[in-house]
């Protein structure tokens, strides 16, 4: 990318963050998977970037793009945090069009001078350069779901293929999605209670789709379906998903996503339960 590096060298500024990608889609695709609110918080360390989106103080989505994904990744400070309009950021990243044209790649150079400065994006495709400056905002505290592996009671790893249609066909007239995880039947069950009646989707523990099944205790938890529905985007992109619940009924969904270059990125969703139920409703 001689064009972009030239431009940077001409300016005698010190950037807190410089990140370069030969293929901007390795970033934009992951960010689309968590784009269910306007604003996001970006958090960067020398290990990589984490982008967080929250809703209703009940659900949080995080996209992790490790330093290794970038062709160049320099972070001058311990950590950098800013809040940004994710819609605008995605529009800029897709400025040359969102559908991949075979053979053409859009390159990205992302630069941030520090607190109070806008985020600079330099995008280049076929010799054409676009420069975007997006204002950054005061970072807000993000929720800490305090979800740690030691408190995990039930864990399942499924191939995403098995859940994709189920999630896209969820009965949205139901207010909640009820998740049952149990060492006994029905093992893993997704239930909705909508206008038409109730629907249950059962996955047996010995299904070919099941990569890992570690359930110690029967847990039945309900989550607001409107909060979880956006996770379908991440599910569609992913090849595997891990579903974990802890002793409070908090839900952690972790999606393993392979980008166009075969590199692995992660997206995770945390959601707190709607209410405690002792037995499922039929």
């Amino acid at each position: 990318m001689p064009l972009l590096t030239q431009r940077i060298q001409d300016e005698s500024v010190q950037y807190s963050l410089v990140a370069s990608l030969d293929n901007v889609r390795n970033l934009s695709t992951i960010l689309k998977a968590i784009h269910f609110r306007e604003h996001a918080t970006c958090f960067a360390t020398k290990n990589g970037i984490r982008v967080t989106v929250e809703n209703a103080k009940c659900v949080q989505a995080n996209a992790f793009i490790q330093a290794g994904i970038f062709q160049e990744f320099i972070v001058q400070e311990e950590s950098i945090t800013f809040r940004i309009n994710l819609t605008v950021l995605l529009d800029c990243l897709s400025i040359f069009g969102s559908s991949p044209t075979p053979g053409t790649l859009t390159a990205l150079r992302m630069c941030y001078q520090g607190y109070g400065h806008p985020l600079m994006l330099f995008l280049e495709e076929g010799g054409v350069v676009t420069v975007c400056k997006i204002n950054t905002q005061e970072p807000e505290d993000t929720l800490d779901f305090d979800f740690c592996s030691t408190n995990v009671i039930n864990k399942i790893i499924l191939q995403s293929e098995g859940l994709r249609e189920a999630f896209s066909e969820l009965d949205m007239t139901s207010e909640v999605l009820q998740i049952t995880m149990s060492p006994d039947k029905p093992y893993f069950r997704l239930s909705t209670f909508g206008n038409a009646g109730s629907s249950h989707l059962d996955y047996p523990k010995d299904s070919d789709l099941m990569e890992t099944f570690l359930c110690n205790q029967t847990q039945v938890n309900r989550y607001k379906i409107s909060l979880l529905k956006p996770s379908t985007k991440a599910l569609v992109l992913s090849c595997k998903v891990s579903i974990r619940t802890d002793n409070r009924g908090f839900l952690s969904l972790q999606y393993m996503i392979k980008n166009e270059d075969g590199q692995i990125c992660f997206v995770e969703y945390y959601c707190c339960p709607d209410e405690e139920v002792c037995e499922s409703e039929y």
């Binding site: 249609e165 038409a196 629907s199 059962d202 299904s207």
Partner: protein, 421 residues
């Protein structure tokens, strides 16, 4: 009731439900000894559809628990359709489908066994109901044509999606002609396009027709979810008729028949009598019954050799004002009168000069056998929607006068005529 569908038949069942969903909002499930019947009717009672799946269609079929009467139930079409929403997914992942109905649990249970051991269970609420019957008899229709569904599907393709009615008729050389119907010729100058498609005799497996016959039916679904089209009344002009509607009931059956590689038969009679579309194979049959316009289309097919079946001067039909001799313009009281009188002919007389001379027999010979009609929403009094005046209701034989006197707005249309001349 308990029945088990396996393999490719799951998708066939799903397609049938999709076809039915184009017609009505409620699905009537009637398990009978001769098979499982799925029926629906549209809100204005001018379209009825029914699929009968023989016991052979199922891997297991039990109409009723021994010793008990079979249950009839009706269920919201939306609910049942949600089970079969994605046909592609049905084909790809569903291995078997089990439908069971138990009066005790008051739930219709549909269980899909899918790939990878995944099981989907839907517990759908239903209502007990009486049997939904439409009285019609394809054998009593003098005219019949039968062709592979593909042929008819291709014939309908050129017609614009927004087209409401189409005329099917037979012209010179026994060519079968489909033509878009113009209901208001005063507007015809505004309409940009008339589409006509003609098929030769050789395209049909069976053609038992006479040259000159034609019927006009609605190519579109009879949903009242769209706002009515207000056409100002012109003195001496015909009444504005149906609203433009999306989707197509007969196309629903067409796409079902095409995917199952079946032939479609069309049984029809004089204008005003219902047209019956049927498909069948060894394990199922489907009937779609659509009302037809009760007067012949004056522009019908534009054929020189067209012989009018009746001696009336067709072209005058639209310009002659007609008295509305109905005992009452109120659809409700008429329907009730029909039912209590046992479905005998309507107490009205048509003035001379009408398209059909003499007393017109009701298009449906027998009274309906469903009991809940009085409770159901009146088909033609949905607020804001002008009733389908030109189409006869299939079940009640009610013949709403096709032409209305320009001086007297019908009380049924009162709410629309407030602001109009």
């Amino acid at each position: 009731m308990r029945c088990l569908v396996t393999g490719g038949n799951v998708k066939v069942l799903g397609k049938a439900v999709h076809s039915l969903s184009r017609i009505g909002d409620e699905l009537y499930l009637e398990p009978m000894e001769e098979g499982l019947s799925l029926r629906t009717v549209n809100s204005s009672r001018s379209a009825y559809a029914c699929f009968l799946f023989a016991p052979l269609f199922f891997q297991q079929y039990q109409a009723a628990t021994p010793g008990q009467d079979p249950l009839h139930c009706k269920i919201l079409m939306k609910s049942f359709l949600s089970v079969f929403r994605s046909l592609a997914m049905l084909e790809k992942t569903v291995e078997t489908c089990c439908i069971s109905l138990s009066g005790r649990s008051s739930r219709l249970v549909v269980q899909l066994h899918c790939r990878y051991g995944v099981r989907k269970t839907h517990n759908l609420a239903f209502q007990d109901c009486e049997s939904l019957q439409a009285v019609f008899d394809p054998a009593s229709c003098p005219y019949k044509l039968c062709a592979p569904a593909r042929v008819l599907g291709e014939a309908v393709l050129p017609f614009p999606l927004a087209l409401a009615e189409v005329t099917l008729g037979v012209g010179a050389g026994r060519r079968v002609i489909l033509r878009s119907y113009q209901e208001d010729e005063a507007d015809s100058s505004l309409k940009a396009m008339v589409t006509e498609m003609s098929l030769g005799e050789d395209d049909f497996q069976q053609l038992r027709v006479r040259e000159g016959v034609a019927v006009t039916f609605c190519l579109k679904e009879f949903r009242v979810s769209l706002p009515p089209r207000h056409v100002p009344r012109r003195p001496g002009g015909p009444t504005p008729g149906l609203t433009a509607l999306p989707l197509s009931p007969s196309q629903g059956l067409l796409s079902f028949a095409e995917s199952a590689n079946l032939s479609l038969s069309v049984h029809f009679d004089t204008p005003g009598r219902p047209a019956i579309f049927t498909v069948e194979d060894s394990t199922l049959d489907g009937h779609f019954v659509l009302a037809t316009l009760s007067e012949p289309d004056p522009h019908s097919l534009g054929l020189g050799s067209l012989e009018p079946r009746r001696p009336e001067p067709r072209l005058q039909a639209h310009s002659t004002p007609h008295q509305d001799d109905f005992a009452s313009d109120d659809m409700d009281s008429y329907m009730i009168a029909m039912e209590t009188s046992g479905g005998s002919e309507a107490p009205w007389a048509r003035p001379s000069g009408s398209p059909s001379p003499g007393p017109q027999p009701p298009c449906s010979p027998a009274p309906p056998s469903e009991d809940e009609d009085e409770d159901e929403a009146e088909p033609t009094t949905v607020p804001g929607t002008p009733p389908p005046k030109k189409f006869r209701s299939l079940f009640f034989g009610s013949v709403l006068t096709p032409m209305r006197s320009p001086q007297g707005p019908s009380s049924v249309l009162a709410e629309d005529s407030d602001g109009e001349g």
